[in-house]
């Protein structure tokens, strides 16, 4: 609606868009020039990432696990890593470049990000140890779990949650307690006297 414009704001300069336009899409849109090898990535990872994520991406303490977890998704303890869960490798570029290392965001060069991803892909058995990742071959990388994602289907798969006249009286015979939070006892309660009910 050209006529309805207020004329507020100003045109962004190319340098400004370039500075902030750091997002990467699965189709490769946004990928900067550059490249990096698994080997380079390993060195960088040990230096800048392993303290939190473990030497092999296995996660230190409670920090995120980045590799492994294959076949765990149906188990009682799914491990959702780049290899076992993520649908697209592009996500790792988009995320690592903008957010990692945690507390030192946006300090990595493009080559460093390519190398780190090459290393993470190798830790996840997606590429070989001599792999060199670059803008050119990036979109050729496919992650194993991509096809397991599908669009929100709640309106059909959960159609039975739309219902008329839910039961109001004598809806069940007897009721049994099947679980109690107090058994697990993980609620923080030190600070709040009002929570001490015993």
């Amino acid at each position: 609606a050209e006529a309805g414009r207020l004329g507020l704001g100003r045109e962004a300069l190319p340098e400004e868009v370039a500075a902030w336009d750091i997002d990467i899409r699965p189709d490769g849109q946004g990928l900067p020039p550059g490249k990096g090898s698994v080997k380079e990535g390993e060195a960088l990872f040990l230096e800048k990432c392993a303290a939190c994520h473990g030497e092999f991406g296995e996660g230190a303490a409670r920090w995120p696990v980045l590799a492994g977890g294959f076949g765990s998704l149906k188990s009682a303890a799914p491990e959702k890593t780049i290899g076992s869960f993520w649908p697209y490798a592009s996500t790792s570029f988009d995320y690592i470049r903008r957010a990692m290392p945690f507390g030192q965001a946006q300090t990595l060069s493009n080559d460093e990000v390519y190398a780190l991803i090459a290393f993470l892909l190798s830790m996840n058995d997606v590429v070989k140890d001599d792999f060199v990742l670059s803008r050119d071959n990036f979109t050729a990388v496919k992650l194993p779990n991509e096809d397991a994602f599908y669009l929100d289907d709640r309106e059909t798969a959960e159609k039975h949650f739309w219902r008329k006249d839910p039961c109001m009286t004598a809806c069940k015979d007897k009721v049994e307690i099947t679980g109690r939070a107090r058994v697990i006892d993980v609620t923080p309660d030190d600070k709040d006297k009002s929570m001490k009910v015993e």
């Binding site: 704001g9 998704l73 903008r98 957010a99 507390g103 965001a105 798969a157 039975h160 949650f161 009910v197």
Partner: protein, 400 residues
């Protein structure tokens, strides 16, 4: 706890010194009008705070704290008690240096200052913001004893902001514009994809909450409001909107905020928050203390529209009564409900069941698990049960 079973209007044994003795506050002058240029709660309310659960996260900069729902009433969450979720700590953004850029599939890539945004037509709306992970710790069973922890990742605030549609019209959308990506200026550079239909419908670019500037932890000076949709999408410290023809599949919509089902497959783009409710009083942090008349209260909300009805059971779902909805009941806002009831010390199993104007009825946890299994993490809107024991103590339980 000591239960007081007080007969109706009984006489006191002897005069109450709180009445017969002149209290200090009735005699001596209190602080004057210059004491608190910006006010704070009474010292007697020091226990009414957001709380975090340390074992939940590796550190506190990417973590969450929880709103003390059991201490609140009505539908407005005061700004000091709005739960927080950040991924790189609280960004303390200088508004003079804050910019909003619109780039991508637009006729003009634009940069706005805060002054620019405040010169555009604005509107005010009350909306709930619920984290998709709210109640997420409860998928496998009752875990946390307190609605602050089971349901406290929600707040309900009046926002002042510019319709996103107006900003996009300033830039001029290309015909192939189908999605936008919103991005924060924080150390996590938080980013999410939003379909263009939603962006043009009811999203706001907000700079005020409950009348005053956004709080730093809520995105000062600018956040996007995505009514009815999961809180993670309401990007804080909003610095950029890119318009595109496809979604971005950012980390927070692939690695996180996708719903893993029992068959190992996952739903993605589960944006809307289903209808949900919780009884906030009684609850584990707010046990029953007296026999006789008592107030049961709670909140209900639906991302699909407006709450039309809330039913409450005191006997674990055998029998239900329709609660009294009170105060403004607005679309995609929390609604407040009450059941005034009499308690004589019998065991109670309390649940609430919300319905919205699309006809959706809040499911039981069993119904939800039957479709989704136990690994979903997000979007747990199952019916919550509180067990009230004879001494008033109240527990988070699950029942058959």
């Amino acid at each position: 706890i000591g239960l007081t079973a007080r007969p109706a209007a009984a006489a006191a044994a002897k005069p109450d010194p709180a009445i017969t003795e002149v209290q200090d506050w009735s005699r001596f002058l209190g602080e004057g009008v210059a004491a608190h240029p910006y006010g704070k709660p009474s010292k007697y309310e020091a226990h009414v705070v957001k709380r975090d659960v340390e074992w939940l996260t590796a550190g506190r900069e990417s973590s969450v704290n929880f709103t003390p729902l059991h201490e609140l009433d009505g539908i407005i969450t005061p700004n000091g008690l709005c739960f927080e979720r950040h991924h790189g700590g609280i960004a303390e953004v200088d508004p003079a240096k804050h910019r909003l850029m619109i780039n991508g599939l637009v006729d003009r890539q634009l940069v706005f200052t805060m002054d620019d945004i405040k010169r555009m037509p604005r509107t005010n709306r009350i909306y709930f913001l619920e984290c998709a992970a709210n109640s997420g710790m409860e998928w496998r069973g009752a875990q946390l004893n307190g609605c602050q922890f089971t349901h406290g990742m929600i707040h309900n605030v009046m926002y002042t902001g510019v319709p996103l549609r107006l900003l996009l019209e300033e830039a001029g959308l290309k015909t192939n514009a189908k999605w936008i990506m919103v991005e924060g200026g924080d150390a996590a550079g938080m980013n999410r994809s939003i379909p263009i239909e939603k962006a043009l419908d009811d999203c706001l670019i907000a700079f005020k909450m409950n009348g005053e500037a956004l709080r730093a932890e809520q995105g000062y000076p600018l956040r996007i409001v995505v009514p009815g949709w999961e809180g993670n999408m309401w990007v804080k410290w909003l610095r950029r909107i890119e318009v595109g023809d496809q979604p971005w599949h950012a980390r927070e919509e692939t690695s996180k905020y996708t719903d893993l089902l029992a068959d190992g497959r996952s739903r993605r783009f589960t944006f809307v928050m289903d209808a949900k409710s919780v009884v906030t009083n009684p609850s584990p942090q707010a046990p029953l203390k007296f026999k006789g008349p008592n107030v049961l209260t709670g909140m209900a909300w639906s991302g699909r529209g407006t709450i039309t009805r809330v039913d409450v059971t005191l006997d674990g779902g055998r029998n239900w009564r329709t609660a009294r909805l009170d105060g403004p009941v607005l679309p995609r806002s929390v609604a407040r409900f009450y059941v005034d009831f009499d308690w004589q010390g019998e065991e109670l199993m309390i649940q609430s069941r919300a319905m919205d104007d699309t006809g959706y009825v809040q499911p039981t946890k069993a119904e939800l698990r039957a479709v989704r299994g136990l690994n979903s993490i997000y979007h747990n809107n199952g019916i919550q049960t509180w067990l009230v024991r004879a001494n008033g103590e109240t527990e988070n339980v699950e029942i058959s």
